[in-house]
Symmetry: C3
Subunit: 177 residues, 3 copies
C-alpha cells in the first residue's frame, strides 16, 4: 500500500530566502510522526508570503501530489505580508469555520494575542487544508485541538483512512446514521 | 389570531427519495412543540441536497409562506453534497456568525467532530433561518443553546412576538435603551 | 511628540439627529482615558446608520485623520438599519475573526442575545477598526476582552507604540521569533 501523502507548507519570506531557519515545518512533521500510525510521507515546501505562489503550491499539493491533508505554518497574522488565509480561501471549495474558532479558543488559553490569528481550514476536492500558527509550541497546541476531527473529515471527503496513536491524540468517528 | 408559521426543512438526498426515514424534521417539530407557548404551525419540507432547490425552498418559506423562523436539518458537513450553508448564505441579507459559533461550542462538549459542522444562521426580510445538524440529539442541544435569543431576534426584524415555556427554554429580551 | 489619534464613531440614526443622547461614544472615550498611558486624542463622530456614510467616515479616519485605532459603537444587530459590520468589511483589507468571536464569547456570559451581535474587526492600511456594541456596560466588557491584543496588532501593522495602565488592562506582546 502506498503511504498517505501529507503536505507541509512553510509560508515565510525569510525562511524561503534562507535567512531564517524553518522551525514550523519540522515541528509539524515531528508532531505527525508521533501522532500517526498509518504509513505516511511528508511533502515539504518552503515558500515566500506571495499569495499567487501560495495558491499555486496548495493547488499542486492537492491536485498533482495527491495530498489528503495539507498543513501550513506562518502568514496568518494581520500584517500586509500575511496572506496564507487569503490563499487558502481562494483554493478551497468549502471553509470549515470551526477549525479557526477552536484553534483560537485553545491558543487564547495561553496568549491574548490569539485573536489576531486569522487561521482557517477548508476542503479542496479530496484534500483538507489547515492553517497553523508559526511557532512550534502553538503548532502542537492547535494540532492537539483539531486533530481528533481530522481523520473523520478526510473520510467524509473520500480520502484515505487515517489512524493515530491514542496516547498522542484520540480520533473520533461518529457512528453512521 | 393566525398561528405563527415556522418552516422545518430536511435537506437529505436519501430522505427526499424515501430511502431513509426523516428523523431530523420530526425532532425539530417535537422540540418546538415542547418549547413554544405561542400558537404556531409547522410548514415541513423534505428536499434533496441540491443548492438551487434549497435556495428556492428557503425563499418560498420566507417570502410566500410567511414563516418568521425556518429551521433546517442536514447538509452542513464538509462533503461535496453538503450545501445547506451555501444555500442559506445566498438567500440571507445578513449572516449572524454568533449562532454557528455557539452551536459548535456546545456540540464540542459532546463530540470533537463538531468543528466539521458549517452550520450558519441569517436573516432574510422578516425571517430568521437557522441551520441545525442532522441528528436528533444534536438538534436538541443546538436549539437549547440558541433559542433563548431567537424571539428577540425575530422582534428586531419585525416578526411576531414568540413566547416559550420557561421550563424548557427561557427567552431573553434586553431592556430597550 | 504628536498624540496618537483614535477615532470614536457612534453609528445611530437617532443620536445623529439629536433625538437621543449618545452614550456609546462617551463610554468608549472614558474607557480609553482610564486604560491608555500613551498620549492620545479622540476624533469623535456621530453618524446615521447609512452604509455609504459609515464607509466614508471610516476611510477618512484611517486615511486622512491618521487614526491608528477606530472604535465604533452601534449598528451591529440583525435589523435592516444595522449596517456597521457591512461598512467595516468593505473598507478593511483583512478581517480578524477572533475579535468578534471573543467579544461574543464574553458577552454571552452576561446575555444569551450576544449571539445576535455581528461585530467584527479588521485592518485598513495602518489602522485597526473594531466594532463594539451600543450599550456602555457591554462596551467596557468587550474592550477588556480584546484590548490586551490591540497594541501588538497595531505594532504589526506599523502603527504607533501604545502603552496602558496595567491596573486597567495588561498589554501582551509576544517575544519576537
Amino acid at each position: 500500500m502506498q503511504p498517505v501523502r501529507i503536505g507541509i507548507v512553510t509560508v515565510s519570506d525569510r525562511a524561503s530566502r534562507g535567512e531564517y531557519e524553518d522551525l514550523g515545518g519540522p515541528a509539524i512533521r515531528e508532531w505527525l510522526e508521533k501522532a500517526l500510525t498509518t504509513a505516511w510521507e511528508g511533502v515539504a515546501r518552503v515558500i515566500p508570503d506571495e499569495q499567487p505562489v501560495v495558491e499555486q503550491e496548495l493547488k499542486d499539493l492537492c491536485d498533482k501530489e495527491g495530498c489528503c491533508l495539507i498543513v501550513t505554518t506562518g502568514g496568518t497574522g494581520p500584517a500586509p505580508r500575511d496572506i496564507t488565509p487569503e490563499a487558502t480561501e481562494v483554493v478551497c471549495e468549502k471553509i470549515l469555520d470551526g477549525f479557526g474558532e477552536q484553534m483560537r479558543a485553545v491558543s487564547l488559553q495561553y496568549v491574548p494575542t490569539a485573536i489576531l490569528s486569522r487561521q482557517i481550514a477548508g476542503v479542496r476536492g479530496k484534500s483538507l487544508i489547515i492553517n497553523l500558527p508559526g511557532k512550534p509550541k502553538a503548532i502542537a497546541e492547535c494540532m492537539e485541538a483539531v486533530f481528533p476531527a481530522v481523520p473523520y473529515c478526510i473520510d467524509l471527503i473520500e480520502g484515505p483512512f487515517l489512524e493515530t496513536n491514542p496516547d498522542v491524540v484520540k480520533v473520533f468517528r461518529p457512528k453512521q446514521s
